[in-house]
Symmetry: D3
Subunit: 207 residues, 6 copies
Amino acid sequence: MSDDPETDDDRTSGDRTGDPPMTNFPVPDIEDLPEDLRERIEEETERAGFTPNVFRAFGYKPSHFRPFFQYHDALVEDTPLDREEVEMIVVTVSGVNDCLYCVVAHGALCRFYSERPKLADQLATNHRAADLSERRRAMLDFAVKLTEKPGRVTDDDLAALRDAGLSDEEIWDVGSVTAFFNLSNRMASMADMRPNDEFYDFAREME
Amino acid sequence: MSDDPETDDDRTSGDRTGDPPMTNFPVPDIEDLPEDLRERIEEETERAGFTPNVFRAFGYKPSHFRPFFQYHDALVEDTPLDREEVEMIVVTVSGVNDCLYCVVAHGALCRFYSERPKLADQLATNHRAADLSERRRAMLDFAVKLTEKPGRVTDDDLAALRDAGLSDEEIWDVGSVTAFFNLSNRMASMADMRPNDEFYDFAREME
Amino acid sequence: MSDDPETDDDRTSGDRTGDPPMTNFPVPDIEDLPEDLRERIEEETERAGFTPNVFRAFGYKPSHFRPFFQYHDALVEDTPLDREEVEMIVVTVSGVNDCLYCVVAHGALCRFYSERPKLADQLATNHRAADLSERRRAMLDFAVKLTEKPGRVTDDDLAALRDAGLSDEEIWDVGSVTAFFNLSNRMASMADMRPNDEFYDFAREME
Amino acid sequence: MSDDPETDDDRTSGDRTGDPPMTNFPVPDIEDLPEDLRERIEEETERAGFTPNVFRAFGYKPSHFRPFFQYHDALVEDTPLDREEVEMIVVTVSGVNDCLYCVVAHGALCRFYSERPKLADQLATNHRAADLSERRRAMLDFAVKLTEKPGRVTDDDLAALRDAGLSDEEIWDVGSVTAFFNLSNRMASMADMRPNDEFYDFAREME
Amino acid sequence: MSDDPETDDDRTSGDRTGDPPMTNFPVPDIEDLPEDLRERIEEETERAGFTPNVFRAFGYKPSHFRPFFQYHDALVEDTPLDREEVEMIVVTVSGVNDCLYCVVAHGALCRFYSERPKLADQLATNHRAADLSERRRAMLDFAVKLTEKPGRVTDDDLAALRDAGLSDEEIWDVGSVTAFFNLSNRMASMADMRPNDEFYDFAREME
Amino acid sequence: MSDDPETDDDRTSGDRTGDPPMTNFPVPDIEDLPEDLRERIEEETERAGFTPNVFRAFGYKPSHFRPFFQYHDALVEDTPLDREEVEMIVVTVSGVNDCLYCVVAHGALCRFYSERPKLADQLATNHRAADLSERRRAMLDFAVKLTEKPGRVTDDDLAALRDAGLSDEEIWDVGSVTAFFNLSNRMASMADMRPNDEFYDFAREME
């Protein structure tokens, strides 16, 4: 046990009481939000069993909330990619960008959809250390390059995805998920969004 | 004059006939797009006098077109930032990300809204070499850091913006414009979107 | 569900059956190891309830096994630093170096010794996003700089640690833990060491 | 229109009255320069229709002025490379080094000699996004590598240029133009040299 | 001759009187060290003709001294690699990490064991500029990658070493020497260890 | 002793017979060079006791030879900086750029002019590890920044030099030496220029 007087303060953030949705901007009460936002939030809360903090945080600016979640929903619903694959890209990109909120929240979703409880930790740390099919390794290599060096992506990189069997629309969608989370990671880092406690240990049980 | 046999091919891209909207994905005809996309495109075409290629390119996937432009419109319409300031951030961020489409297209808008014909070239090359008020220098320094090292942004960086006089909402919006164009730059680079010829020399005349 | 034929292979690595200790070098049987190695391994196995894979992997070369674990033991036993602090440094450094084995294995130890179930994920992703005392923030900032840019560390950096209240020996030890895991991360990455399944969800329960 | 009190100051730099040649060192009057410098400057002024600011700036130190321009003149006059190709290298290198003076001044020359009004903006932003012959793409790839990572250039890189059809002397000259502008970019950035207004919109008209 | 009043101070460090073993931590007298450390130091002093400063420096913490030198001794004694090759790796890695102590001290050993008086300066500056067999070039390329980007090392990199003729144990040892000096470089930089004067010009004579 | 068949080849380059001036371009005989080049070379040969290889190498293109050495001579002759200081900058910059020729050749000059036999190795490895006056530390910090990140140099960096006591002309010259060797390093790396054997151990004797 530490005798450091500041340790106690440190420890409180481990409580179940949880972190605030974000610390760098004020967070409006849900009941003060416009009707359509409240509906979208309620829907999510019902599905997840709690309100993911990114919804609370984006309530700060409703005109941004709407297209942010509409874009997100299109990325996971209108795509030939597996949901599992989408979440794998999100976790990998968010790991490259050192984004706590997205690594933890989408790590939970990645575990859930992949039914592979170790996968999110592997991808968030280093996708090269995960056991992946050739197709998925190619997807994640591309997502990392587009994240780190967007101006160096050329048609050679797209050709590598085609060689790995991806269709045009799949390539567009891999790029779009990557691009969207390059937005999302920056919003979360700027606002200091905090993952809900529930995400940390969600879907970790192994068979 | 070069005796390189490929030179002639090089030169054709300088013609007024113009570049295609993007080269890495097929571009649908406008008349084949859903009604709401066609309306948004017509509106933009009327305003600009031509159809910016990003609209043609995003026609590839209507479910992405909608939130992309809705988000964009919110960033320029629902904000205490000057439109001039928004475009200054866009050009600076796009220069860091080496994104041809956004540097050239938003360079035109930056010249137009700022009425400073040299400003876009300065910001696209190096915002540190432009003459800027303290407020704007702080905004662009922040945009560059959030672009290059999103995980290193801390509340100290936000404090610097507050010291330069920015309100909470202005800071959120500076960050949001930066984040959105980190998405946009990656989409344009991945798809190899090409700026319309009209953007290159728009609003360059000096008094 | 993916129709990718390689998906099934992907999934097997999520089984409790577990990963091999490392994939890039052969792993000797414990019973074939020298007596002193077998004793050290048995002791660890008893303490942990399983044999951490790094012990199996270093069995490949007994003359390296001995000083590696002797050094490790000195770092955690002969130091004025809390064990919690040592593991915080390890997880932070291993996150910077993208080392899967060390992030996962020491993430478990970090959760255990800190009794803060969220701390390891925070540090592995981005220590700047964790709630830390000034002392610990200074320790981790130093560990990151010594990891990323060892040649840029100067006495100014040590002065910052002294300002945060660290003694000479504490500074030596922060640097030593950092330096040792810069060795360890490289051995684990080169050998492709795999964390035992047990580490992934160890000590995650919140109160 | 901004209500920012500093905006007016910002705007003055857009005036035709123009920027000073450099801001970090005093600029001597042309009439106070040695005879040979005055002659070289007059010659350039006649050719261009105005005095490019780099001539005024290097007047600060005549013993540097002389070899700087002698070297420059050799690079564009005593070479099997097209002048167009020389300026393409200059603009690309200067873009990598974020050098405002050289991007804008040599952007004008690149447009003029190539008769491709869009080429300079493409190269300054990202030469990978320009339509180039294989020969020129190879030249610019080499120039970028020699600029960014000079110690990593090996004979493999020279072999790639030979494969693209370049002679020994052409390779020496591509390297020399690149090396010289790595000098020039650093002088311009250190001195804060400002491009003359005339360069910004020179040779932009499309046919 | 400079008229800078601080020049004289500068010059004293060029005296044969020599630098202290390290400047950032106190250095205990040899006679105050535990018996086993004194014996190891005496042995080294007899072999070298002087006491290398790293032995004096690690005396600061005997529990670290022991495994540090035991590990070091295993790396040079229990390996199929030539001692010359080991020192080549050390100098190359230490050059990448900008570590003065290790470049100078192991530069001396590299000259001694290789009997190539120019080799150490070549490797410390840029191993790509040295004349090397394919085997050694592959070893050093691997050591540099494992130093600079440990998380990007994959089995492809190990395959390149196998193609260059290295056995499994040789690869393990190349990696181990690299990893150990990534520890050692960081300890030397943190502590500001100073190479003994004797190392600078040791074994420089050409035949 | 290695049993590697390529080792013998390795070793020959350590012979006094010496390296060729450069390996990537043909080196003309001195007697075939224009009169003025031969004179300049003879003068240097007399002064040094041998012909530094950079003179032989630049003989490849006389129109580049002339301004290259004229610029160089102005930098060392027409300056308020000590020659010692000039060579310190050269060695530091060349170390950052990993340039073997310049590190070794100017390392010799740095030892000679500074009369500090250890200084060049310190600066080539890491100027932060050398004992320097405040003035010289500021000069070298500036040279490194201008080398690594030319576009990030601002008037704040020049102010730091003024604070350390440098005059305008001294600042211009520090920047010019830095800029010139950013040219020179790239020429030497591209051409694979080799330092004469004489440079390696020149002026190393300690008092």
